[in-house]
Amino acid sequence: MNYIAENEQPIRIRVELGNRYISTQQEEKLKEMFANQQNFIVDHIISNVILKQTALDWKDDTAIKLYNKIIRSGQVLNVIGDLLLIGDVNPGGKVVATGNIYILGHLRGVAHAGSDGNKSSVIAASYMSPTQLRISDIISRSPDENAGGMMECGFIDPSSDQIIMDRISHLARTRSDLSVFERRIING
């Protein structure tokens, strides 16, 4: 175990657990053991299994929540995961989702997608004339003279780090991966 010379570069390794589950503490301990005893650094610990709770959380995170109502002035609708709203968001009303926001109706109020930091979230509406759009921590307000547009979608343009608008039909090109549960499972 001590045949590796002191000055040698550490070797980066990947630990495969197969169908075993270990807790976060155990994971830390494992990493520590490798780091202390040998000249290894653990890059990844990969397991085929996750906790049921984690799976349920992921599902909740990526599930589409359907609401059929008008969000009126002073009202706030908060959801975990994606929001599909059938109805309008009126001026003074607000919808917030940790995932994407899809509105089958008129968005006139405020919409905040990716509210806990997901910058790849999008906001789509049949009729788009919001007072403000927020994605993650990026805010854009509507131009003061805004006629609004039909079937539009707002998302963060990675090159400028600003919210830009495009037609919903163009979304498939830029975001073919709109948060699917399976993707989360595969990528962790």
Binding site: R72, S73, G74, D88, P91, G92, G93, H106
Partner: protein, 264 residues
């Protein structure tokens, strides 16, 4: 059994008191027995608009605190035997009125009256909660201004949480030339945002202010634009289908409005 209707708006000064007085008068003209309740404690107005200020002896707080019976506090109108007013208190003892107190008074009045119209104070605080507590229905009054529509929307949201029928909308103080020139929200825009049923539109009419200052509701006059509008709303409350007044809007408007009422 009578029906209790609250007249509310959120924003102040859009015409709740004027609407209450005129709908009361119009329903009385149609020979309904009507009681108007002023719940704007500390800022009572309804008595002045009806010209009954000098007849007040007891008020609604006296009724709640059992210093008198509801029948003793009620004032009969000068013009109609079937129209009564239960006035608000002019003191600042606001906390005396509670939702429970209102429910009790209204359920007592329902056996004697066909309609109980409740004039709600501005705002969304305790006064609003009291005014809607005993109501079966609500009329939301707005003017064609953004801020007024915004507050109406807020109020509709709050009413949707109450145990009452979906509210109906009255658009008051319409100035036709301004709507046409796009300087005011038009009826269509307002309806799109609020998406509730429209029960009437009332023109902005100097005669309303004159009548108010004489303590005689405009609905009493035969043919001003506003008096016809209020009488039409009263008939719609009774379930009649009355086409909306033509305030010289674009034809498409009227067509859309007819659709709202399911006429033609």
């Amino acid at each position: 059994m009578g029906e209790a209707i609250v007249i509310t708006s959120g924003k102040g000064g859009v015409g709740k008191t004027t609407t209450t007085a005129n709908l009361g008068t119009s329903l009385a003209l149609l020979e309904k027995k009507v009681c108007l309740i002023d719940t704007d404690i500390g800022l009572r107005n309804l008595d002045v608009v009806l010209g009954l200020e000098n007849r007040i002896i007891y008020d609604i707080i006296d009724v709640v605190e059992e210093r008198c019976k509801a029948s003793q506090a009620m004032i009969k109108d000068k013009r109609f035997d079937c129209l009564y007013l239960l006035p608000a208190a002019q003191t600042n003892d606001k906390s005396a009125l509670t939702p429970e107190g209102m429910i009790e008074i209204i359920s007592e009045l329902k056996s004697d009256f066909d309609y109980i119209l409740i004039d709600c104070p501005a705002g969304i605080e305790q006064g609003f909660k009291n005014a809607v507590a005993g109501a079966d229905k609500a009329l939301v009054v707005t003017t064609p201004e953004k801020s007024s529509v915004r507050d109406a929307d807020r109020i509709i949201g709050l009413l949707e949480q109450e145990d009452i029928e979906p509210p109906n909308l009255i658009i008051n103080r319409i100035r036709n030339h301004m709507m046409k020139s796009g300087d005011m929200l038009d009826i269509d825009e307002i309806m799109q945002i609020l998406s509730i049923d429209l029960i009437g539109i009332v023109a902005d009419d100097d005669e309303v202010i004159k009548a108010t200052n004489h303590g005689e509701p405009i609905a009493f006059q035969p043919n001003t634009k506003a008096s016809i509008a209020y009488r039409n709303i009263a008939r719609r409350i009774l379930g009649e289908s009355v086409p909306l007044q033509n305030l010289d809007q674009k034809v498409t408007f009227i067509d859309k409005l007819k659709k709202v009422f399911g006429k033609n």
